[in-house]
Symmetry: C5
Subunit: 257 residues, 5 copies
Amino acid sequence: MPKKKTKSASMSTFLTNGRSMLLAYDQGLEHGPSTDFNDRNVDPSYIMEVATKGKFNGIVFQKGIAEKYFNGKVPLILKVNGKAALAKGEPMSRQNCSVEYAISLGAKAIGYTIYLGSAYEGEMFAEFGRIQEQAHKAGLPAIAWVYPRGAAIQNDTAKEIVSYAARTGLELGADAVKIKYTGDPQSFSWAVKSAGKSLVFMSGGPKAPTDEAFLAQVQGAIDAGATGLAVGRNVWQNEDPFKIADSLRRIIFAKKL
Amino acid sequence: MPKKKTKSASMSTFLTNGRSMLLAYDQGLEHGPSTDFNDRNVDPSYIMEVATKGKFNGIVFQKGIAEKYFNGKVPLILKVNGKAALAKGEPMSRQNCSVEYAISLGAKAIGYTIYLGSAYEGEMFAEFGRIQEQAHKAGLPAIAWVYPRGAAIQNDTAKEIVSYAARTGLELGADAVKIKYTGDPQSFSWAVKSAGKSLVFMSGGPKAPTDEAFLAQVQGAIDAGATGLAVGRNVWQNEDPFKIADSLRRIIFAKKL
Amino acid sequence: MPKKKTKSASMSTFLTNGRSMLLAYDQGLEHGPSTDFNDRNVDPSYIMEVATKGKFNGIVFQKGIAEKYFNGKVPLILKVNGKAALAKGEPMSRQNCSVEYAISLGAKAIGYTIYLGSAYEGEMFAEFGRIQEQAHKAGLPAIAWVYPRGAAIQNDTAKEIVSYAARTGLELGADAVKIKYTGDPQSFSWAVKSAGKSLVFMSGGPKAPTDEAFLAQVQGAIDAGATGLAVGRNVWQNEDPFKIADSLRRIIFAKKL
Amino acid sequence: MPKKKTKSASMSTFLTNGRSMLLAYDQGLEHGPSTDFNDRNVDPSYIMEVATKGKFNGIVFQKGIAEKYFNGKVPLILKVNGKAALAKGEPMSRQNCSVEYAISLGAKAIGYTIYLGSAYEGEMFAEFGRIQEQAHKAGLPAIAWVYPRGAAIQNDTAKEIVSYAARTGLELGADAVKIKYTGDPQSFSWAVKSAGKSLVFMSGGPKAPTDEAFLAQVQGAIDAGATGLAVGRNVWQNEDPFKIADSLRRIIFAKKL
Amino acid sequence: MPKKKTKSASMSTFLTNGRSMLLAYDQGLEHGPSTDFNDRNVDPSYIMEVATKGKFNGIVFQKGIAEKYFNGKVPLILKVNGKAALAKGEPMSRQNCSVEYAISLGAKAIGYTIYLGSAYEGEMFAEFGRIQEQAHKAGLPAIAWVYPRGAAIQNDTAKEIVSYAARTGLELGADAVKIKYTGDPQSFSWAVKSAGKSLVFMSGGPKAPTDEAFLAQVQGAIDAGATGLAVGRNVWQNEDPFKIADSLRRIIFAKKL
């Protein structure tokens, strides 16, 4: 499948020949430090270093990490909402950072999570709507993390559900959408088609059992037309983050050769 | 029944001799791509082409589709609220696009869905109230999709319910109201009367079993005094969208001859 | 009982020698067209005509009706909130029209419904509070429809309840209050006293079994000190609206002779 | 116990030699006219006369009463929130009058009720917080009616609860706090100490069985360090309001001699 | 573990050689006067004296206490939210003081409590987000009290939970985070690491059974890398607050020698 062209010029900051590899690091808030971090990767300075030396196309931070650790050497995507993993009930992730403030921290794109299917879905649609407009007025793209979740969702990697997530991003004006992998390139290509001109990033997810298993998923997503990958744990939980980053880069940017 | 005259000049953008045929394409958000789309109509570019070549009087998009695909050749109605089909519970559709932003995307009218009878009806009344005023101040008409839905609604095509929907649009200041067909011209004419000077658009609904069945409904609505039709699936799910569009046009615009 | 004097000059627009007869027509939204309307009175133009030729002191419309039908010949009271009759649960009626917009439509007074005793009473108190101030700043009186309703209300025409409604209007700053009749002049006079300098309008309510029965109620309200009547169904559902209007006028304005 | 000194000069408007006797008249909204009023005291003009001739240090009105009856001869405390007694459930009293509007009506202080312990306590804390700042910016003191109420409250005159109410007023920035009497001077003095530099007004409460019983309570509160009394029913339900006011004055202002 | 360096200069107001000892006094609102206070410490003047003579690096007050008692001799941290202890249910602490007002009272830092894991967590995340930005724009640091609480929390001093609290502060942009002690230096050092460049203050908590027990905890926190202590009851409930303050100072500032 050919690489997508984005109408808005602004996602180009994060693209190398139309492809992209982003480093995500919002897990400290989303999952808590004891779930995902060790003595090395608990330190945002280390992640900043991985992003820089690992030649990532962008780094994803919450406002506090960006404010205290961002070095300006990798384009910044500021996640402006977030939630912790402790509270139960239908998921809701509220805005904790204004678009204006995100820009003051150096952001080149705004990230926002929508829990599709949650009882609070509507509030996130509305909040993303405002954020998307503010971002576009300021010349920044808006990237939607669309995660189907809540009592209404049976299987969040089903083709129908993932493609619905992708389409939701397009309909609501996201310039790129981060979604889970469906498990095979054929079903994922439907999600990519559903996303239309919104670029698709595969969500890295929890650490895969083997590097090979993870690389195969990424290959499948790229084959299905994804623009790239937003990866966190599978890189910075890896014993050698730079080696796995190299392997990912070979897959993601293969077609540019 | 004679064609209605609209006091506000602005609906005239969407009228040909007082009648109108609109193409609706918000189903990607409302129903999800796997429910309604195939490889052809999943692509908004194709729909844009159908609207243009099919000589529709207007096209209905969510903000994201408008932003990335609208070609300016057909008057744009921007739906400024929307919900996905996954979450259960009383329906609520929140604003995700400002009137100002809709106008910047080229909108010539603002669309908004009200779930009449929902526990959240009041919030939609209030939100539509603000939107209607902003639209009118900017010189744009406001079009209400009024759909009776929620635990309080037994039969959403009953004469009493459809006419209540029509009247709600008039009372709240909608310049046009999109409602379901009641099943026969006589009962539908009461809905049209209830709508007063608000123009009535029959909602196309799911793909009818045969073209004939669908065309008969449209004929009934027109006979009952409807201004026209807002149709989606019955056109772009049709094997030959241009042929069915031709047939629809012959019915809708018949009296202008 | 002597006629009340209003401190604020603005209610005088709706008074003839201190008395008043208002025509209410918000039933299309509040009850639905099939409940209250027939082929004649479903048309707001007809109501506008009744108000004009019937020499009413004011006409009550929702924004949409005012925008499309108001002819400027009778002072306009714009009801800025409203709800439909379909949803169950504690009643709440949210603002759907700004005071500024109401004025742009020609309103000479702002109307607002408060469901006293509802679980949402506080939100209506707060909303009416803001509206009352905006209206007064613009020189318009604020008229409160105070209807005790919800699970906490056993009998909404009991003397204690109706007088509580009347007093609520006074305490919250309403220049006039529309309340139900208690059934006899003596108990209603307590409601009138409780309203203090807020003018009291008896609510016409559903069509009475006979004209005589209705006229007797109105006589009782006037005897008890009411300023007048806000009547809808008992006039425009009447076979001869002008005749019953004449009869009402004779009762309401009797004392000016 | 010595009389408190207030840092803010503005409460001085309501003080005579550091003591104060306020007349409260918001019962029409809080309890309803049939519960508390008779033909005489249902009329706010009469209350205004009692306040003026009875030489009260201040009068407490809701906005509507102030707007239509306030004569400017007694300093006005405008209660900017209020609720009726009909709805059940956790108590919440929302703002119905802006500080700006209160000032335009002649207010020299802003009153606000907080239902401590209610499930909605937090919303009242937040609302009072905004009001207190607006009042102070305008040079007016903020007076908090702090009433422990709701399912969490067993005994709203217990020493621990009343002192918590008093302290809440101080912590949130109230210049004066109106609280219930605990029943004896010793326990009430702990509430007064807890209130710190916030002046303490004993709440008059329902009509006491005898004048003597009520006067003894007031004596106890004054002995415990209260600045004064905010009294309503025990004065204007009294057969001779001026006589009881005289008796109260003798107790409250005794020490100035 | 080496002392942390703070990127933002503004926390330096509260530091002596990179360490800090803060006096907390918001218990009057959070717990009520009868739970925590006696005749001596119920008086904020006394606490102000303890803070001044006890050479604390900062004093924590709610707005009302600051407004009436703050003497300007110790840097002020204004807690801009708070709740009482009476209401049950998921904890929520709403803003009662604007950042602008806090600054007008002399605040050099803004404090805010987040109940991590509460059903209302998201509203506190959002509110803190706005406050943090306002504070930073005004040049003030934002300090987060992060307390895991609510039905989802089993053990609020578990290593995983305390470190999650610490990390939440960092992610949301707090310049310092106040957290409970985990019980031993090793587990607490993980919380300190999780907080990254956000300074960590151990929360003093309820009066310890003996001074020795409390001092051992503080030593443990300092050994684990904490910047200092925010202590209330263990100082001002102590018979000799100045003596315990001396002991605390010796532990907290030991390494500067």
